[in-house]
Each structure stands twice: as C-alpha cells, then as structure tokens.
Subunit: 358 residues, 2 copies
DNA sequence: AGTTAGCACTCCGACTAAATGAGTGCTAAC
DNA sequence: GTTAGCACTCATTTAGTCGGAGTGCTAACT
C-alpha cells in the first residue's frame, strides 16, 4: 500500500487533533476538520489503511484512532523538514529571525553566574511550555585545561583548583601524606601548569604522567596522585551538572500521571545521573545537524523511564567547543512544533549571550 | 475534661494502629488491641471524649477515628521523651549505643568527597525508610574565612577562590574593568587575606571594607567590588546545596499521592530553594536539644507545600561549628519512632566519619 | 474506480439502585 | 462506671441500564 498525499493529510489531521484534545479522534471529526471535502465513510476507509500501515491504532474496537510512534515520527520528520526549509528561506532576511527570538530581555539583566542563567532558562521553559524541562551545564569532557593551581590548606590537605578552557572551575581536595613546603609547592605548580596547559583530558596519558613524576623527583608519587585526582574529577560522569524544572507538569497529562509512571520519571529527574546519557552524547543519527535539535519519540529515548514520553533536546554553545544541552520532556502528544521553536529560541539566545560576554 | 492515663493509652492505641493501617480505626479494634480489657462501648465513650479534646476526629459520621495534628504531637512528644530517658540510662553502657549504629560499613570504604558521602546517605535513608529524604551540605553561614585567593584568568576575568574554615570551597568569577598586573594582584591577595582571615561573614562590615579600600589605594574600587562578591556568594541562600532522594516514595501514601499535593511537594524538592528554611535555621523551640532532632507535624512545618506531611530533621556536624541537616519527609502517619532512630543513627555516623577524617 | 449513505454492532463511560458492612451514638440494664 | 443491644449513618462495592461515539460492511450513487 502506498502513502499518498491524501493519506498523509489525514494522518496529519488525526495527529494534530489528537495533540489538542488528547482523545481518540474519529472519522467524523476529521471529515469536518480537513479542507479536503470528504465524507466520514471515505475517511474511515483511509484510516483503516493507515492503521494497517502502522501509523495509527485504536485503543479498542469502536473507538477513534490514536497515532502510533511511527505516526508521530512521520509527522515530526515532516515538521522538521518544512521548518528547515523555512529557516533557509528566511536566512536571507535575518530581521524576521531576530524578532522571532523572544525573551532575551529576561536574560540580559547583568552579568550572572552561568548556573543562575541556566536555572532561569530551564524554569522559563517549563513555565512557557507546560512540560518538564532540563538543562545541562556545559560539558567539560573534551575540553582543554587552562590553568591549575595547588594551594596548601593545612599540613595534610591540598586544594587543587582546576580551570578549563571554558572558564569552568572545579575544586578538588587532596589529602597528602608527607608534609610539603611552600617552595616545592610553587615548583610543582609551575611544573604541572607548564606541562598540562592547553591539553585535552584525553591527551593526558600515562606516558606524560611518568615523565612528570620523574621531573618532580621525590614528589613523583604526589604528582601522579594529583594527576589521577584531576583526571577523575573532570572526567567522571559525576561531573555533569543538570538542572530540571517543572517536574510537576507531568501531572497535566493523564497518560503520564499515574503513580507508577510518574514515580519513575520523577526518580530519573531526581537522580540526575540517569539523564547523563540523554544530555551528553549525540544519540541517533536523526538529529537535525543544523540546529542540533533531536527528537526522541517514545521508545526511541535513551532513558528507560521515559518510554512513554517524547523528549526533545537542543544544543547550545557556551564557548568555542564547549556545549551544553537543553531538553523538554513531555507526553508523546506534546506540541512538537511549539517545543522545537522554543528550544531553538533558547539555544539561540544562550549562544548569543555567551558569545557577547566574551 | 482531663487526659487520664487510660485515655492516653487509648489515644496511643489509635495512633499506633493508624500508623500501621492508614485507615480510620474503630472502637472494636481498640478493644481487642489494647491490654486494658474494655468493651468497645467503653472505648467509644472515651473516644468521644478524645475527639472533644481535639486529639482525634472522624473523617465522616460512622467512620473510625483518625489522629489530629494535636494527637500526633502528643504521641511524638511522649515518644521523644521516653527515648531521651532511654538514651540517658544507656549512656552508662556505651556498647549498646555503638552496636546500634548500623551502616557505617557502607560509608567507610575510602576517603570520598563529601557530596558523594551525603548522596549515598540520603539514598540509603530513602530506601530504608520508604520516605523521601533530604540532606544539606554543611552550612557556611556563620563560618570563618580561612583563606582566599585571587587569580587572573584572562585580562578581564578574575577568579576568586574562597575557602572557609570547614574546608568548604567556593569559586566566584569576577569581571574587572581595568587590567591588572600580577604584582598588584599579589599585593591584593596579601592585603585581603591578612585583613579577612579568620573572620565570620558577619564580622565583615562596611567599616572594614572602607579601611581596606583605602589601603588598596587606586584599586579601592576593585577591592570593594570583590568584597561584595565574596559576601554575596557565601551569604546568599543560593549557596545552600541540598540533595534529595526517594521523591517517588510519596506515591506510597495515598493521602499524599493525588496529583495536586504530590505536584506541590515535588516542585519543592526540585526547587531546592524552598527547602532552605527547613534545612538551615532552628525553627520552633520544641527541638530536642541533645540530639538536634526536630519533628514538624502537618502545619507546623516551615515549608508551605508540606502542610499535609510530617517532616523530621536532624543535625550533623561536619567540622567544629559547621553543621548540615538531614531530613525525612513523609505522611503524617509516618513511623516516627523508626525515622527518629534512623536519623539519629545517620547523624551519629556522619559525626564520627567527619571527625575521624581529621 | 472511488465515494457516499445507511445500518447493525461494539464498546466505553456515566448513571442508578441495591446490598454490604463497618462504625457510631444512645439507651437501658448490670 | 461499664456493658450489651439496637437503630442509624455513610462509604464502598456490585450489578444493571442506557446513551453515545465510532466502527466495519454493504449497497447505491457518480
């Protein structure tokens, strides 16, 4: 069977209607709703076909139709494509695009800590969309070390301050066995900085560690100790920081609101580790390369507890090469168009904001 | 009317039973449950009295009784008192107390970052009690400044690393207008450290700021700028870090599980700022001075969204004078005894752990 | 061919009525 | 002061009924 233009139009109508009402949509409704003037009976035939093709289904005999994941997928792909086309044609007249980015006024107030900015953004998103939203701090992973500083706190504790290229700062407390004096500390600082500066985490390897340990002479052990602390601190998945907002919004959507499902989702939001996979690597190849927007429908999501949700993520750039993600979690019948637009605006604003600060 | 021993016993029986079942308890049940051999009819009379006194109530005519907040209060106060007495008598034989502290094995593995420890603890609590649990990082508020360091990141940004007495480290990024060279930076570091070291946040005042600005000569503006950044960073409620676990546990208790209530609670847990009040100052005067355990029943809690819950908090000591709090949030019919015991154990373990590390 | 109207059928959801049962308050007797 | 007995209340459960929305199918229409 073939998916001709008319079937596609009907499918779209079913989905749009279902997005609005959240209830199975029947043939009569469609027959009025669409501009193609067809009777309910004809629609029924077409809908039977669409069901056979796996785009829609009935929750029970003699009920209206509901889109399947495949149906949503088709719809979303279509939407993204026409969106991309629109963007392209608009690139020539950037004015439109500019006036489209709402809300930067809220974020420009003054120089703020990035956490504050992101917390504001995520809250704003949740409030505006009525879905749950998440944001990750810029990822340090593939980032270069800019500067590191060892400071003696007391006779047994060393404070190691690590600054990465994107001006991301981390602290690590290191316990030391043997006492150490200011002089050698100064030397160590010099040594480590000169060796490590500008390096990616992945460029720091055993070889280098060995060479440094050698140069540090009797403090070799301490150096490698420090080094492994550094690597661990930055590299650990633990390092990812995620903020969420609007968790309670899932209660707006009955299909997610039963305590089992909601509990699972909320646990995931609470234990942010489980979101790591979602908020770091690019999953799937269906991401929109130009905007960094990804749409996961139902089982497509990498997060187990969200098999009944749809998740949309977008990428923002904090500094050159340093990225973070913003995401929206909602029911499968979420307003994909609105959410994609909102995320796109937000990442645009963030990109601008962070670039302006430089 | 007077609350004689028998009435008290009946009240206790009602509450105990209700804690277990979660359902209104009737006179027949009590008549069997208690050791005082009384018929249901007698119990009924007594219960009518108890209702008049405001300790219990009926959700509707011809239903069993449910404890009121006042009823719980009485019960809890009693429990805490007998508990305190037991503790006192046990102090002479500390072995008992020692074997009572379960779970330190889980936390002793190795030197861990305090965040990790606290996250483990809060998770463990949630799993063991089946309630929602929260923990706050040690509070910096009334803490002394141990050390502070200014580092030039680039021509426009200054990194300010702040270490407080309890080895709590904070970073603050400060934008500067005029460029500054390493020499003056060194001087500033020296000046600020020598002036501020060992001071409480509250001891840093305008007077001092003025004096320092004066000494800093032409960089006076920068100094006061930095100073206000420091004060703001540390002092801001923003600075409190809170971890939660087991949010989904509220769904175990139908009286909290409806989406309105649950949504409110979950929002509060998500926006940790709202928990600040709960996790910082001592509220109410009914706290158990010896253990730092506080019990908030229903409307007593300082957090608005938890008017239908009970909240129990306990204080642990990170370092001399640096405190954090652990809390359990559950339904009013929570197992107060078990929770108090669990919290008491946890704070004991934490106290020991942190003191041993030193 | 494709489209439409008509009709029997299915199934859900809302409503009603009756039965059940736990629990109370009250009275009268012990 | 305590208890047994009884009438009464009210939430919960069960079963039964009804209406409506929507379907699939067939037959007629273009």
């Amino acid at each position: 069977m073939e998916l001709d233009a008319r079937k596609k139009k009907i499918l779209q109508a079913v989905i749009k209607n279902y997005l609005e009402t959240g209830e199975p949509v029947g043939s009569r409704t469609i027959s009025k709703y669409t501009d193609l003037e067809l009777s309910a009976a004809t629609i029924r035939n077409e809908m039977a076909d669409l069901e056979e093709m796996g785009y829609i289904f009935q929750p029970h005999t003699s009920a209206g139709r509901i889109p399947t994941d495949a149906g949503y997928r088709l719809y979303v792909d279509d939407m993204l494509q026409t969106r991309a086309e629109q963007m392209n044609s608009r690139q020539e007249e950037p004015l439109r695009h500019a006036e489209n980015t709402a809300g930067p006024d809220r974020m420009e107030e003054r120089f703020e800590r990035i956490e504050t900015v992101l917390k504001d953004v995520v809250k704003m998103l949740a409030v505006n969309t009525n879905y749950t939203s998440v944001v990750s701090m810029p990822q340090a992973n593939r980032n270069r070390l800019k500067f590191l500083q060892l400071t003696l706190l007391d006779s047994k504790k060393l404070l190691c301050t690590i600054v990465l290229e994107g001006n991301i700062v981390k602290n690590e407390m290191i316990s030391i066995k043997d006492e150490i004096d200011q002089q050698t500390l100064l030397k160590l600082n010099l040594l480590m900085n000169s060796t490590l500066n500008g390096l990616t985490l992945k460029e720091i390897n055993f070889d280098m560690a060995a060479r440094m340990a050698e140069q540090a002479d009797k403090h070799g052990e301490l150096v490698s100790d420090i080094l492994s602390h550094i690597v661990a601190t930055i590299g650990s998945a633990d390092g990812i920081e995620i903020f969420t907002s609007g968790a309670k919004n899932i209660f707006r959507y009955p299909e997610l609101a039963d305590s089992m499902r909601a509990g699972e989702i909320i646990s995931t939001l609470e234990e942010k580790e489980l979101l790591t996979e979602l908020m770091t690597e690019d999953h799937g190849d269906d991401s929109d390369k130009t905007t960094g927007i990804q749409v996961y429908i139902g089982k497509e999501t990498p997060v187990n507890s969200m098999k009944d949700c749809s998740v949309i993520t977008a990428t923002y750039e904090f500094e050159k090469g340093v990225y973070g993600k913003v995401g929206i979690i909602g029911p499968k019948r979420m307003d994909y168009e609105k959410v994609v637009a909102a995320l796109s605006n937000v990442t645009d604003s963030l990109d601008k904001k962070f670039n302006k600060d430089k």
